[in-house]
Symmetry: C2
Subunit: 347 residues, 2 copies
């Protein structure tokens, strides 16, 4: 099966590494796909200078598969969303999103600051009918595969209706990316018993129980990594804390393992034997393999890369963008919500 040709706009200036990550990532993706067109958005001079460097001469093989779209401004990593929206109308981030809006790109990817990206994407693209607030969704490694989790920080104080919308969006993303049939949707709570949890979570549970979604009930923080559900739904404050907690624990464990193996000459020798095995384990949960969070609920595909992403990591985010766009996730969300609304009216 040949996938349809897709165009992805890349915010070439965003993230901590900017061009150092985006240009080699673009080359990686062009090498892997023959039906992908990339638009590198940003400072034209800098991008062209980069493309002429000997290490990137392979771009010559891909003439016609990429182009440069000039943008005169950049959004800083610590810039407030409001400032970015008001005074950076020609930023690489904004221009990349405009390309999606104008239909010139099927998706865009940025490693720029999350708040500015969400605000700009929402302003330019608008939300889908039936969606009050877009959400950020990423996939995380689990014992049995991976789990899609949302919202991860775009929304705080989410209502039951918002959580329901997140569930619909996450379910469709899981179907689209993993091909999961009837993804299992869990609602994050602090106990499996029905009596626990706050009012919002309880009301959301009621909505989900009546829906067409494959709702499996409440899940707890550890279920995200157990693989109990394909989609875990929560408020953005809670989701962001959970995501960061997971990162923190993984980093602490890596730190302690390194410390133990470098303790003395014997443990250093043990490390020589153990490291190849530990490295293949590390690969399995390498955060770079899990880069690329989807901003769901917008009229277009916008993918957020981690700000510190390197080339491999940014390339993963582009792959996510390709998949989400190929599977027409925004359209499918819209259709699913339409169905839900019709059903509600029928009741």
């Amino acid at each position: 099966m040949t996938s349809p040709s897709m165009t992805v706009a890349l915010d070439a200036m965003g993230g901590d590494l900017g061009l150092d990550a985006v240009i080699p990532a673009a080359l990686r993706v062009l090498n892997r796909h023959n039906n992908i067109h990339l638009i590198l958005v940003g400072n034209q001079e800098q991008i062209n200078a980069r493309l002429q460097q000997p290490e990137y001469k392979a771009f010559l093989d891909f003439q016609g598969h990429y182009e440069v779209q000039p943008a005169s401004q950049e959004v800083a990593m610590d810039e407030s969303p409001a400032t970015a929206l008001r005074s950076k109308k020609d930023s690489s981030m904004r221009v990349a999103i405009n390309l999606v809006k104008d239909g010139r790109a099927d998706a865009c990817v940025s490693a720029g600051n999350t708040g500015a990206l969400m605000a700009t994407a929402r302003f330019v693209l608008k939300t889908l009918p039936g969606i009050d607030r877009p959400a950020i969704c990423t996939h995380l490694p689990s014992m049995t595969g991976h789990t899609h989790m949302l919202d991860l920080g775009a929304n705080i104080d989410s209502s039951a209706d918002h959580l329901f919308q997140f569930a619909v969006m996450g379910s469709i993303l899981s179907e689209a990316i993993d091909g999961t049939v009837k993804p299992r949707v869990g609602l994050l709570n602090i106990g499996e018993e029905e009596m626990k949890g706050n009012e919002v979570v309880k009301s959301a549970a009621a909505l989900l129980s009546e829906s067409r979604l494959n709702y499996i009930g409440f899940v707890e923080g550890d279920d995200v990594y157990k693989g109990t559900a394909d989609v875990v739904v929560c408020d953005g404050f809670v989701g962001n804390v959970s995501l960061k907690t997971g990162e923190g624990v993984a980093k602490m464990i890596a730190h302690f393992i390194r410390a133990e193996f470098s303790r003395n000459i014997f443990t250093k020798l043990a490390a020589l034997v153990a490291m190849p095995v530990l490295n293949s384990f590390k690969k399995r949960i390498d955060p770079r393999r899990y880069n690329g969070a989807s901003l769901l609920g917008l009229r277009g595909t916008v993918i957020k890369s981690h700000g510190s992403a390197d080339a491999l990591s940014f390339a993963t985010a582009i792959e996510v963008a390709i998949q989400v766009a190929q599977q027409s996730v925004p359209d499918r969300i819209s259709q699913q919500l339409q169905k839900t609304l019709v059903e509600k009216q029928a009741v």
Copy 2:
């Protein structure tokens, strides 16, 4: 310095293992301290039968250092707090708490169900003046030592005042247990920038900034394990999700490490060399060494052990109880709050 003599009441029937954990844990503690008196609360017949088993004959050496207090009922692990409170007035859990109330014990420890323990402790002991809601606080391993975190699930939808009270209580617990001078208190949020976070967190930040506490500002989920703060304060819903997420990630990593080392004959040989090193790392973050959560804000010391605690783990919880009681944590919380109230009135 000889510590004062202390009496600790143990709910001998609580938790998944009941007597199988509590009796050997008691022996461990008696072996380590010569000034601790233990009261084993529960089914007298079963306890005595256990104490007469050959493996526990060492109890003979500690005559006068322990006693058995009969209790005819047990609270089930899945029993609702309301039922436990209403119909289990002679449960091992309730009788242990009564001993604290009556001054016969300085502290009590239970591995029974958290909801019932909190409800019963609150009903029997009452909260300290100035405390609206008791909170659950535990210490978690961090890269640099450990972090006390609260609330972990006793309270959902906490107000700014509640978060402030949690901060006072956590700060005193950190001082008491670790001897930390001016413990660094962080408020859990989803971004370090002041503009982020919900209204409750922002108001709590304002209260903390004006207080005598060593408030260091907002922290994020990963800071718990980095060791950025000595005390991390949050709402119970968020705290519980964070705690469980951490457990989930640690379990997933252990699972993957085991899987990689048992992949084939070569990795199994590597495991022989690596395991002693990995085991000494595992010891460092062994959850059994971090057992014993404090129910803070009550007029008495109540320690919650993990439900699945084994003997080593339950003994750790008893050690926490001894420390908290020796340091008069409830009195110190009360005094500190009194000071805060007087200051507020003076303003």
